[in-house]
């Protein structure tokens, strides 16, 4: 086995005694860093959150909070992480630790190290500035005068405090002091990707140096489990005991991480974390801009990718309904070359797709121009960090008060994500008014074949499709020019 190692809290530690499936969390705890806790082992509670040094794209480093329970330890090879123990000590608390401690931000303390890490990531966020005075209204309480966005903590659960003191601790933070080592660290490059090969106990973890090598491996071993952020496979490993003879990590491959805004299409690399896509698109695809804050939590979005979300092909994945409404196409690559398929044809059955085992998802292409009016409606039990019961992506063009085009993507109502073709057909050519919307809503409610489960009943799922369209109509009235009034 090659020597592999990771920098933890400033110390270089060999990644000894790990299997391909060993999580960063288990490894940290085995090394004696027991501050990171397992609360759920599926990226829901954030008790294991840690800071990962990632590139800011301009030669500097971003401190990125991620769930240690989902990151394979092997994926940390050559990387740099900080845990709650590395932020400060009881004698010399870090500013986020000081605020949390003095303000009653910890009770049982079990979730607290994770909160400290998520909070530190936001503390060090370069773009954290005071909001413009104009930013008021219903969501004003979710962004503080110090620029702290409450969503930064939405992947951390606390069962004791009721959250108020944690929020107040975050909102009381100042800027990093001069000489703050982690703030200064941001000015130097993050560790680059390292080719990793680990073999233990009949399992291999492979991070190939190039996409060509990855495709060669995949051609030879099509049963390999391809992972990027590992936010889905990690859950299978932890909760369902799934193990793979070969885990093929592709999140670092430059060919899968490009983002370009061309004349005819936006192309988004399949291995880019969603948080990075959100930053780099910066609102230029409004439908995705509306979706991202509703997709899981920052701890997940900092790792999860489009390729992963479309690769697992879950019918309740949040991206597909939006991308379907955007008429996105999927770029698949294999050793034989590239092909492009329409996303609406990509899903073939429950977690089944057109992707051949020897193919990687390289990118998605969203054709331009975008529809004038888009919206993303996610129905879930909880507003932050939940899985959809139903998700609906809308993309409409309205000319002179008449619907010129309509594309609606649905999730959670069938074995696959799907386009609401019947509703789209009904809408096109009709005047955009309440009668049309009511007619269309009743058709929309009959699209798909929803089922009842622990998240929602089939009846509720159906109704939510119809009310989503009605809500779109009622909350975003269109003028004759198709511009929000």
């Amino acid at each position: 086995m090659d020597h592999i190692a990771v920098t933890v809290n400033g110390r270089n530690l060999p990644l000894r005694g790990i299997a391909a499936h060993t999580t960063a969390l288990d490894w940290l705890r085995d090394t004696g860093l027991t501050g990171s806790k397992e609360g759920c082992a599926e990226g829901e509670c954030g008790a294991c959150a840690m800071l990962l040094a990632t590139s800011d794209g301009h030669g500097g480093t971003v401190w990125t909070a991620v769930n240690a329970c989902l990151v394979p330890a092997a994926a940390l090879d050559g990387q740099e992480i900080v845990t709650a123990e590395g932020l400060g000590t009881p004698e010399a608390l870090h500013p986020v630790q000081e605020r949390l401690a003095e303000g009653g931000g910890s009770q049982c303390g079990y979730c607290t190290p994770g909160f400290a890490c998520s909070m530190a990531a936001e503390f060090y966020r370069a773009g954290r500035v005071a909001p413009a005075p104009a930013e008021s209204g219903d969501r004003a309480h979710e962004i503080a005068p110090n620029g702290f966005e409450l969503h930064a903590l939405s992947g951390n659960l606390c069962r004791c405090t009721g959250y108020r003191p944690i929020r107040d601790a975050a909102y009381a933070l100042g800027a990093p002091e001069p000489g703050d080592p982690l703030a200064e660290r941001r000015g130097r490059p993050a560790p680059g990707p390292v080719a990793t090969r680990l073999e233990a106990g009949g399992e291999r973890f492979l991070r190939p140096p190039s996409v060509d090598e990855a495709l060669r491996v995949l051609a030879a071993e099509p049963d390999a489990v391809v992972v990027a952020g590992c936010t889905d496979w990690g859950v299978d490993v932890n909760l369902r005991g799934r193990r793979a003879p070969l885990t093929l990590a592709v999140e670092h491959l430059a060919e899968l991480r490009a983002l370009s805004f061309g004349d005819a299409a936006v192309e988004i690399g399949a291995a880019l974390p969603l948080a990075e896509i959100e930053r780099r698109l910066d609102g230029r695809v409004p439908l995705l801009g509306e979706l991202f804050p509703q997709f899981a939590s920052p701890l997940i979005r900092n790792r999860a990718t489009i390729g992963g979300n479309l690769g697992t092909a879950s019918p309740i994945g949040d991206l597909a309904p939006a991308l379907l409404a955007l008429e996105a196409r999927v770029v698949l690559v294999s050793a034989d070359g590239e092909r492009e398929v329409d996303l609406s044809e990509y899903f073939t059955g429950y977690r089944q797709t057109l992707r051949r085992p020897d193919e990687l998802i390289r990118a998605v292409r969203i054709p331009l121009p975008l529809a004038q009016q888009t919206a993303f409606h996610k129905i879930a039990k909880r507003r932050f960090d939940d899985i959809s019961s139903v998700a609906v992506g809308f993309a409409l063009d309205v000319d002179d008060g008449v619907v010129a085009s309509a594309r609606i993507g649905l999730g959670g109502v069938a074995a696959t994500p799907l386009r609401a073709r019947a509703t789209e057909a009904l809408l096109v050519g009709r005047s955009w008014n309440v009668e049309t919307v009511r007619d269309a809503a009743s058709v929309l409610e009959a699209e798909g074949t929803p089922m009842s489960d622990h998240r929602a009943s089939a009846e509720y799922r159906s109704r939510m499709l119809g009310t989503a369209l009605l809500k779109l109509y009622r909350t975003r009235p269109l003028t004759a020019e198709g511009v929000p009034a």
């Binding site: 004696g32 123990e85 931000g105 009770q107 190290p113 004791c160 507003r383 932050f384 960090d385 009310t467």
Partner: protein, 801 residues
């Protein structure tokens, strides 16, 4: 005022201090049970083999597991040297031959690693002989499947009054259970030390009972077993009874293999194996006069106890004693019975039946207010206890005037009337979004209803250098008990807080302790710590009197100095006096003991004075409901709560806020779903992970959250005039549910009744909104909504035994 309640000058109690472990929490250096295991070497991991049937006779064949690499041993019933039972009532076999619920642990695999243990458990062969199962309360009622002793609280003649009352309503309602979801799952770590003592680190709220169970499973006397609880990552009642069996498995493994054994449930194991808050099925009938005064209430409560009795009887007892909540109900009958089902054995959870009891009356008042044509807030206040009245179980409601004062203060603080007017204007302008502001009260009885539990012990050492070490019988689960005990000791000894250290809770320091539960651990252990400290202080006063040349009665201890009234020298340090005391051969350590006086309770008749006092509070909550989806937000909460004179204001504030949000989770979001079909998964918990069982997150935090303590609230007869705070605030969250109900009503016609499922999930709220809209569309008067069956025949058939 009693000496117990009196505070000396410059008390450390009442000052704003952070949790004693806060600096350790935030740096990840606070150590929990499984962290100890992670740092030890040669440790074996225990993994359960869980039943795949809700009810079946089982035969376990561990053979195939033993050949899995790394597997060391499989624990089966044959391995138990003592009593094969993990409960206190001999009804919970540690390793059963009959699986009583889906997920029941049938055997435990010990292996070198967690991975090997998991694979070993998967390899164990289990032969099932399936038996009929009962999953829902409705099935249990139909089948007559009950356990324990049914109880009835009765006063007056409710049946006759209900037959003649001007307004009579009835209904059936169910309230769901709740998973504790302490962030730290159950954990135990056991080894046998050099002297043959079985030492168990355990995340338990009741170390003494854990010790007893471990001892009887191992067939050892209690003096051979020591249980230590460093701290828990949350308990909420879920670690009062349920840790014992896990500790016993770890201890059994350690004694059989000679190696340390760690047992930490993963989240799914914890969810599928351990008990939860009891779901309740409630049938009620209530009569009112024209002014809205309650004349009579008859109700039958059926709780879902799961497969074994556990704490279901006292939980039901407390529920029956809280149906009245804050209201005078002259004619009253509440009957309680416990269903036996093939599910996890439901157990203590913050409030311990109180929340379900209060739910009954708050649900009734919220439902019927529109029928009576009286605003719900007015209806509630009109029925409050007046001073001098007694509860249906015969206890005088002392300080009933506090209810009225707190209520008025919440109305003021929340600008209740003014905001309600604003909300009405908002609702008139918004067809798709409605807001509402509702206020509800809490009156919660404090003390264990099992009288013997109302005692506590402490062991306090003063060292020659003046430093102080405190042991007491309570456990720290985040509620700040240790912080309060440090403040009590510092106050009693007149030393600064940093002169006192708290040692982890251990059964070899303070024996025969009570569970840290029922909100009473600060009252009880605080009394014991104070008692111990005062013995030492009085002895030191004698020493100081000699040094200062004053009478011992004139010696004062304050802020680490010891001085005398009229002494010529200004004062001595506490350390000087401690050192002098040592040299004069004066004992500098003491055991303290406390028992709550004045309690009596007749369990058979359900009459007496089971509570030392009542904790009072009220909350006004504003919500906004989205008519498209049923989703809601909590816009603002105003609370006034009675903590007596707070021992530790930051701790108490945290208990109120945290309890409120946890209660809101129970009532609005957290949903336990079980497979109730006849399919192969019957009885399986469907919401068995954090991704399917949703607890409140930041999005459920009240956007504005104002909490005030009730002032000048000294509680006589309790340590330094304080009151218990752990459980009562949870029930303030009933205001969230009532606000949602009123917001839903705003979608319909005025005066419409709203029936709301519990939990009121967005889907449940959406259907309620739909019902309100439909009712408004059919405005015909003969189409009265369900539930408003004025004068109708009652479905309530009280059962007498």
């Amino acid at each position: 005022m009693t000496e117990l309640a009196t505070r000396p000058a410059n008390p450390v109690v009442g000052t704003l201090v952070a949790h004693e472990s806060a600096a350790l929490h935030v740096t990840g250096t606070a150590v929990y049970t499984d962290d100890v295991a992670a740092r030890a070497s040669g440790v074996l991991t225990a993994w359960p083999v869980q039943s795949e049937h809700a009810h079946a006779l089982v035969k376990v064949d561990p053979g195939a597991a033993l050949v899995v690499p790394g597997v060391v041993r499989v624990l089966t019933a044959a391995d138990v040297p003592g009593v094969n039972d993990a409960g206190v009532k001999d009804d919970e076999p540690l390793i059963p031959s009959e699986a009583m619920f889906h997920g029941h642990a049938l055997a435990w695999v010990l292996a070198e690693t967690a991975e090997a243990a998991r694979l070993g458990a998967a390899a164990v062969r289990v032969d099932y002989e399936p038996l009929p199962s009962i999953i829902t309360v409705a099935e249990a009622i139909e089948a007559g499947s009950f356990q324990g002793i049914p109880r009835t609280v009765r006063r007056g003649d409710p049946e006759s009054v209900l037959a003649t009352a001007p307004h009579v309503f009835d209904g059936v309602v169910e309230v769901g259970g709740q998973e504790h979801f302490y962030l730290e799952t159950h954990a135990s770590f056991a080894h046998v030390d050099s002297e043959g003592q079985v030492f168990v680190e355990c995340s338990t709220q009741h170390p003494s009972e854990t010790q007893e169970i471990v001892a009887h499973v191992l067939g050892l006397p209690s003096n051979r077993v020591t249980v230590q609880t460093l701290r828990m990552g949350g308990g909420f009642g879920g670690k009062e009874m349920q840790p014992h069996g896990f500790a016993a498995i770890a201890a059994l493994g350690a004694t059989l293999t000679g190696r340390p054994v760690r047992l930490r449930l993963n989240r799914t194991q914890d969810l599928t194996m351990t008990g939860k808050r009891h779901p309740f099925h409630i049938v009620w009938k209530a009569g009112f006069d024209d002014s809205g005064r309650i004349l009579a209430l008859a109700t039958t409560l059926t709780s879902d106890g799961g497969w074994s009795l556990d704490l279901s009887e006292p939980v039901m007892g407390r529920a029956l004693c809280h149906v009245d909540n804050a209201y005078w109900i002259p004619n009253f009958v509440a009957q309680g019975r416990i269903a036996k089902t093939n599910k996890t054995s439901q157990t203590a959870f913050r409030g311990f039946g109180g929340p379900q009891g209060m739910f009954v009356i708050e649900d009734i008042l919220g439902r019927v207010a529109p029928c009576l044509g009286i605003d719900a807030a007015t209806l509630r206040e009109r029925n409050f206890y007046a001073p001098g009245q007694t509860t249906p179980y015969g206890q005088p409601v002392r300080h009933a005037e506090r209810l009225h004062e707190i209520w008025r203060r919440v109305l003021d603080e929340s600008a209740f009337d003014e905001r309600r007017a604003g909300i009405a204007a908002f609702n008139a302008e918004h067809a798709d979004t409605k807001r509402a502001l509702a206020i509800t009260p809490v009156k919660f009885g404090i003390s264990f209803t099992l009288t013997a539990f109302n005692q506590a012990g402490a062991l306090v050492h003063v060292y020659k250098d003046g430093s102080v070490l405190v042991n007491h019988g309570g456990t720290e689960m985040g509620q700040g008990l240790h912080t309060k005990m440090l403040q009590v000791a510092a106050t009693a000894l007149g030393v600064p807080l940093d002169a006192v250290r708290l040692a982890p809770t251990r059964t070899d320091k303070v024996p025969n302790t009570s569970a840290t539960a029922a909100s009473s651990s600060a009252d009880l252990n605080g009394g014991a710590v104070k008692h111990a400290c005062e013995q030492i202080r009085d002895r030191m006063a004698g020493v100081a009197a000699g040094l200062l040349g004053v009478d011992p009665h004139d010696v004062r201890f304050s802020r680490g100095r010891v001085g005398g009234i009229g002494a010529s020298d200004p004062s001595l340090t506490f350390a000087d006096v401690a050192n002098a005391a040592y040299h004069q051969r004066v004992q500098l350590f003491a055991a303290g003991f406390y028992r709550t006086e004045g309690l009596h309770w007749d369990t058979e008749k359900m009459q007496g004075e089971p509570f030392k006092y009542f904790a009072y509070g009220a909350a006004a909550t504003e919500v906004e409901v989205d008519g498209f989806t049923g989703a809601y937000r909590t816009r603002r909460v105003d609370i006034v709560h009675d903590v007596g004179d707070s021992l530790s204001p930051l701790v108490d504030l945290g208990q109120i806020e945290g309890g409120f949000v946890q209660g809101a989770g129970w009532l609005t979001l957290e949903e336990l779903r079980w497979d109730e079909t006849d399919g192969p998964g019957r009885g399986r918990l469907l919401t068995q992970s954090a991704s399917t069982y949703k607890l409140p997150s930041f999005s459920e935090m009240p956007e504005v959250f104002n909490v005030h303590f009730f002032e000048r609230a000294t509680e006589d007869g309790v340590v330094y005039g304080s009151k218990a705070v752990g459980e009562p605030p949870l029930m303030l969250a009933l205001s969230v549910r009532e606000a949602i109900r009123e917001a839903v009503a705003a979608f319909g016609a005025a005066g419409g009744i709203v029936e709301l499922a519990s939990p009121a999930t967005p889907e449940a709220v959406f259907w309620a909104v739909e019902a309100a809209r439909r009712a408004a569309e059919r405005a015909a008067p003969e189409d009265r909504p369900a539930g408003a069956s004025v004068g109708a025949e009652s479905p309530l058939v009280p059962f007498d035994h």
